[in-house]
């Protein structure tokens, strides 16, 4: 009998597969219809899904609620915009984001990981607020207007070249990047290191008794999450052609937390599905009424109370049951 965590991981594989297939189908239909908006909306959902993924790594696996993850996402976006305006290279921007994520993650992590629980949440919140304010007032970063004029780039994939202006093409590129981020996260979380993080979430006071140093574990997890967020952020200016300080504000971090909760904490997949779900919901509700904040707030409260395992909590057990049935001969 495979253990519960491995079955869960396998269920995740199925769900990833579904997401990829759905994405491909969506891209095909969109391209055939010459659609621009829905493909770009989906691309945006995936990009913010990457941010949600980083929140889930911290919350769902390490047990740390970060209310300021948008800091890394936003800084990744700004860095990407600056790089692209100088050298329109996709890979360079991505690499810069990766490097920056490590550095920023270390800096932020050293400050934040000394504490847990609500204190951690408040430190991450405050850190994001402070940096956002600095960016908001820095003229060389465009101040409150942000940076415009990020050029449309051509992404060289070896065999073919995709333009960031192509809705379907760029959607597929982003899908690939985000799925890659997911795959790396899933892999790492399925290793002994990952199991330790889960142990941290379950009961972090016992972990040192097992001989592990929680501080370095938490720092590693934090840096990892920061990198995921920063790399996701690098994709944003490629899609929209600009960055603005609002990408670092609490509303962005808060949305990521809502996404993870609605999708299902600690499932990784929940972050991605949740992002798609929330983007669709917001777009629909937003057109229908200007009181979308209240509706999303009520939905969120309902999810916290009645659906603590989110969307994945409903979907995944069904998938797991299917897999278990297949496993038994």
């Amino acid at each position: 009998m495979p253990d519960a965590l491995t079955v869960a991981a396998r269920a995740n594989h199925v769900l990833v597969g579904v997401l990829i297939l759905a994405g491909l189908a969506f891209a095909a239909i969109g391209a055939a219809q010459n659609d621009t908006f829905y493909l770009r909306l989906a691309t945006e959902a995936l990009i913010f899904g990457g941010l949600a993924l980083s929140v889930d790594i911290l919350l769902g696996y390490t047990g740390l609620l970060s209310l300021g993850q948008a800091l890394y996402f936003g800084l990744g976006a700004y860095l990407s915009a600056l790089v692209l305006k100088a050298v329109p290279s996709f890979w360079l921007a991505l690499a810069a984001g990766l490097g920056a994520g490590v550095v920023l993650g270390l800096v932020g992590g050293i400050i934040a990981i000394r504490v847990r629980g609500v204190y951690f949440a408040l430190i991450t919140f405050g850190l994001a607020q402070v940096v956002a304010k600095v960016v908001y007032n820095t003229r060389s970063l465009g101040a409150s207007d942000g940076l415009l004029g990020v050029p449309i780039i051509n992404i060289d994939l070896g065999l073919a070249s995709v333009s960031s202006a192509s809705p379907a093409g760029f959607f597929l590129v982003v899908l690939a990047v985000i799925i890659a981020l997911y795959a790396v996260s899933a892999y790492i979380l399925d290793t002994p290191f990952g199991r330790l993080l889960i142990a941290l979430r379950a009961n972090d006071r016992r972990v040192p008794f097992l001989g592990y140093r929680t501080a370095s574990l938490r720092l590693s997890s934090f840096v990892f999450a920061a990198v995921i967020a920063t790399v996701s952020g690098t994709l944003y200016p490629m899609l929209r052609g600009f960055v603005s300080p609002e990408l670092l504000f609490f509303s962005t971090s808060g949305n990521a937390v809502i996404t993870v909760l609605l999708g299902g904490v600690g499932t990784l997949m929940g972050a991605l599905y949740g992002s798609v779900l929330l983007t669709v919901l917001r777009s629909l509700i937003g057109t229908w009424t200007e009181h979308h904040l209240m509706i999303i707030g009520l939905l969120f409260m309902g999810a916290v109370i009645f659906l603590p395992n989110g969307l994945m909590g409903l979907v995944r057990p069904a998938v797991e049951r299917l897999l278990m049935r297949k496993a038994r001969p």
Binding site: V115, G117, F125, K133, L293, G297
Partner: protein, 297 residues
């Protein structure tokens, strides 16, 4: 010498006094927050919205003709059942989960969103400002003091003292502290823990509402006003010690004075980061804050 005196009289002293008025307001909000955390272990992210709730309620009742003095008593009292209902119907549902801290934080975060939009729905997006109930000012030693701010400081101090008195010197307060220290033991000693919990939450948000009524004439009333205080209040609670009323008072006074005086010397935009920095340092050096937790002192 004359210059120094001049400086003290015209710049420093007024700054300290107005910092006091702001400090009293922050303390009132922070005490509610710290009681809720100290007793219920709940981080109330919607606390700022209950502060706004008090202000809006006072506004609405004021339009019906009720005088300010009545509102100062009526609104907090009216908010008690509201807080009680929120605690029993919403917070209790997630209270017994293992990740209570996170869940209640998220739940109250959602509640805050809903309340803010509700204010906009009910009152529109534009600001309101009730007239200052005590107009005019006095001049003490050359320091200009609006009467209403003096009133605020006095009333605020009285209320804070009353709360401290009740918590530390009365039987009711002893029950509250016992329930905070060890819930099961307190229950087995006959303390009606469920009531105490709900009552504490109600009391906490009622204090925030009281602050809202008190401050409306000087800070005006609008849907996003809850965000005004929340970061400062949380910082005060953390630096003072989650659950400690004495801590909230000391930290509240200290931090608001730091902010007021710092504003004299550096660009005011940096006063928030400084306050935040103090919070970070406190968390790194002494995470339980200055005074530790309610009941655990």
């Amino acid at each position: 010498m004359a210059e120094v005196l001049d400086y003290v009289q015209f710049v420093l002293a007024p700054q300290v006094v107005t910092g006091l008025a702001f400090g009293v307001a922050v303390i009132l909000v922070a005490i509610g927050l710290t009681i809720i955390f100290g007793l219920l272990d709940v981080i109330n992210m919607s606390h700022g919205e209950f502060y706004a709730f008090g202000a809006f309620a006072a506004l609405a009742l004021g339009w019906l003709g009720l005088p300010f003095w009545l509102l100062l008593i009526l609104v907090p009292l009216a908010m008690l059942p509201v807080g009680y209902a929120v605690e029993r119907m919403l917070i209790q549902r997630v209270f017994n989960r293992p990740d209570r801290h996170v869940t209640t934080l998220l739940l109250t975060f959602g509640l805050g969103l809903v309340l803010e939009d509700a204010f906009r729905l009910g009152f529109g997006p534009n600001p309101y400002r009730p007239d200052t109930p005590i107009p005019g000012a006095v001049e003490l030693f050359g320091i200009f003091l609006p009467n209403y701010r003096l009133f605020l400081i006095v009333v605020g101090a009285v209320v804070i003292a009353a709360v401290a008195l009740v918590v530390y010197r009365t039987r009711l307060g002893a029950m509250v502290r016992a329930a905070a220290f060890d819930r099961n033991m307190a229950a087995s000693l006959g303390v009606p823990v469920a009531w105490v919990y709900a009552g504490a939450f109600a009391f906490g948000i009622s204090l925030a509402g009281f602050a809202g009524v008190l401050l409306a004439p000087i800070y005006s009333v609008f849907p996003t006003m809850g965000r005004d205080f929340i970061l400062m209040a949380f910082t005060v609670v953390i630096v003072g010690g989650m659950g400690s009323i004495a801590g909230a008072v000391v930290a509240g006074l200290f931090l608001t004075q730091v902010q007021a005086i710092a504003a004299l010397y550096i660009s005011p935009v940096w006063t928030d980061p400084i306050v935040f920095g103090i919070m970070v340092v406190m968390l790194m050096v002494r995470p339980q804050g200055l005074f530790g937790r309610l009941g655990h002192a």
